[in-house]
């Protein structure tokens, strides 16, 4: 096997996931894997250290159809299955959670709402260019004081005369905000929460970048500031997006991708630790031969295999139109938790070397701390599952 920086040829497959995939799904994984090995792994540590997003990869990923690939071809999609999409997210996040986050936002949080709730003119105007990566989108729901409780948002939109709307408010923790050409902004209106498309450069709209992150450093995170932003209803208002439910359905799409993506980060950490433990000699033996390390590997590979099968079953349900939001929550909650745990265990196996950027482990571990909290915190997902099981909503 090659070293950590060169990428590993095979994904970890203890329970025979490969045999449950179609040829098409396997090919999508191979294509994404080859891309990540050649284009992402050699450069990602430098970007994370420098806190820069590898922007040149946007067009490359768009050219390969990595954004919104489950959408119909007429809108620039690729008609892929949800499982193939999940495998794509797996490979991208094996590269870096920031890269997968970019694809999640572009596809699930921007293209999906435009596709599901936009007018035909909005779809044709935005979707093909978003798919190719010619333009970038971001999704503004979370606010400084409203995270887990988005329904309390303070951002307001008021209807003006002449088919216009005026927006005021602040959004926070917005991936891609500063580099986005279009923002999907959710705001309170007299008729409930509605979604708006706000273009970069609209007077009163700013998207300053947030600094000082120890996590997702190879990803752009921003605030969105809207001060008397006036937009045209036909171009801006998503006609079918009515109520918080519409915004939450976008999150369900993104959370599905995360349930797959974090497996990639976990796999990278697991394989790195395994490779390291085979070659690291202490007391004249590879440390992989010691019982305490083997107990860690057994636990890591068990969790990884279970997470893979969980994601696959969720994907099959989704392709059959049967996946529920609570099932997506369960998978996001479980897989993100286990990925973070695997990353931490991998770090201990690498010892002091585990903190260096020569290995991907610490970067993944720090990234996963964000993933644990974003797109619904671990705790909120537990409550969504709890509500599905007991019938009682504990977070209201």
């Amino acid at each position: 096997m090659a070293g950590a920086s060169a990428g590993f040829t095979h994904f970890t497959d203890f329970m025979g996931l490969e045999g449950l995939l179609t040829d098409e799904e396997r090919m999508v994984r191979e294509a994404a894997r080859a891309f990540v090995n050649a284009e992402v792994l050699p450069i990602i540590e430098q970007h994370a250290q420098a806190q820069t997003f590898p922007a040149h990869l946007i067009r490359a990923m768009g050219g390969l159809g990595f954004f919104g690939p489950t959408l119909p071809e007429a809108y620039g999609g690729a008609g892929l299955s949800s499982v193939a999409y999940g495998l794509l997210m797996y490979e991208l996040e094996r590269g870096d959670s920031g890269l997968r986050s970019f694809a999640s936002v572009q596809g699930a949080l921007v293209m999906h709402p435009i596709f599901a709730y936009g007018s035909e003119a909005q779809k044709l105007h935005w979707l093909p260019r978003l798919a190719k990566g010619e333009v970038v989108g971001c999704f503004g729901l979370t606010e400084p004081d409203f995270g887990s409780n988005p329904g309390g948002m303070l951002t307001r939109a008021e209807r003006l005369e002449g088919g216009k709307w005026r927006l005021n408010g602040t959004k926070m923790w917005i991936t891609n905000g500063t580099v986005a050409d279009v923002a999907v902004v959710w705001a309170q209106t007299p008729e409930g929460i509605r979604g708006f498309l706000v273009e970069k450069g609209t007077p009163g709209f700013r998207a300053p970048e947030m600094h000082g992150k120890w996590s997702l450093r190879a990803s752009v995170t921003s605030e969105l500031v809207l001060e008397d932003v006036v937009v045209d209803e036909a171009a801006s208002l998503l006609p079918e997006a009515q109520g918080l439910k519409a915004a939450l359905s976008c999150l369900t799409q993104a959370r599905y991708g995360i349930a797959w993506g974090v497996l990639g980060a976990a796999d990278a950490c697991y394989q790195c630790a395994l490779d390291y433990a085979q070659s690291r000699i202490q007391f004249d033996r590879p440390i992989a031969a010691f019982q305490l390390q083997q107990e860690k590997f057994a636990g890591m590979v068990s969790e990884l295999a279970k997470g893979q099968l969980l994601a696959l079953q969720l994907g099959r349900l989704k392709d059959a139109g049967k996946a529920t939001p609570a099932q997506v929550s369960l998978a996001k909650m479980n897989n993100t938790h286990m990925a973070l745990d695997i990353a931490r265990k991998a770090r201990t196996i690498l010892g002091a070397n585990g903190i260096l950027d020569e290995y991907p482990v610490m970067r993944h571990m720090a990234n996963l701390e964000s993933v644990y909290t974003y797109e619904g915190t671990h705790d909120i997902h537990a409550l969504i599952v709890g509500q599905a099981v007991t019938g009682h909503a504990a977070y209201l």
Binding site: T9, D23, E24, M27, V28, E30, A31, A34, F35, G63, L64, G65, F66, P69, E73, G77, A78, G79, L80, A84, L88
Partner: protein, 260 residues
């Protein structure tokens, strides 16, 4: 321009290991890939498609599972895929293979046939040139770059270890392409989706005009006498000396072995 690219499915030899006990190849779990030189030939064809509007067909001879490399070629952008597959072709050496492929190529009527220089499993570099001979086509091997000149000609660079020739060749012709000529594109997600919507044409012996006595194992004049793994060489010696002393030691060693 109609281009046909001949591709072979091969085991990824970077993944093949030797069983230390038996000395044979461990093929279990070794992925099958498009032969690297053939992949460069495919990329060459796809660049011509992008720049001149050429159509690109891929042709492979092999067992049914070779369909996988044809799907990959379609996902990269090829327009059409043909698999020549029949149990009666089994055991073909380069002679029988090139006769079979030549027969398929006669049906396809290409302006340009591109092959990889050689396959990483057999390493003979014979099939491309033999196909050209069977078809009576001009052949340029070891091609490192090419560009079209008008509708009927190509300017190609034929590589040698210590230089290159620039040749003008008239189509139809056959070129064998070097892996280093380009960086093949990735398969795209829409390309993969489309690749599985398209049919792959399969031709058997009955679809080709080829003498049955010249194909398969019995039509193959090559006989493998022995197959073995080379013994490992002894470890080299390391001298930590200045350059003058180093040169003296090298000359002395070469003299001892009667090399100089």
């Amino acid at each position: 321009m109609k281009i046909v690219v001949c591709v072979k499915q091969v085991p990824d030899t970077t993944e093949v290991r030797i069983d230390p006990a038996t000395g044979t190849l461990i093929r279990d779990g070794v992925p099958s890939i498009i032969n690297p030189d053939d992949r460069a030939a495919l990329e060459t064809a796809l660049v011509l498609k992008d720049t001149t509007g050429a159509t690109v067909a891929v042709l492979s001879m092999g067992p049914p599972q070779a369909e996988a490399v044809l799907r990959e070629a379609l996902a990269m952008g090829a327009d059409e895929a043909i698999l020549v597959s029949d149990r009666r072709f089994g055991g073909s050496d380069t002679w029988a293979t090139s006769l079979t492929l030549a027969s398929a190529l006669r049906r396809l009527q290409a302006d340009l046939v591109l092959c990889g220089r050689q396959a990483i499993d057999g390493d003979t570099a014979q099939v491309g040139p033999q196909v050209a001979e069977h078809l009576g086509l001009p052949l340029v091997s070891y091609v490192g770059s090419l560009r079209p000149e008008g509708d009927r000609h190509l300017i190609v660079k034929r590589m040698f270890e210590d230089g290159h020739h620039v040749l003008r060749v008239q189509m139809p012709c056959l070129l064998t392409i070097l892996k280093d000529m380009n960086t093949p594109r990735y398969m795209s997600a829409p390309g993969i989706f489309e690749a599985f919507q398209r049919p792959i044409t399969t031709w058997t012996l009955d679809d080709l005009d080829v003498d049955p006595s010249q194909i398969g194992l019995k039509g193959s004049p090559t006989r493998v006498k022995k197959s073995y793994t080379k013994g490992t060489k002894s470890a080299g010696k390391v001298y930590e000396v200045d350059p003058r002393e180093g040169a003296r030691i090298i000359v002395e060693n070469l003299r001892e072995k009667f090399i100089i």
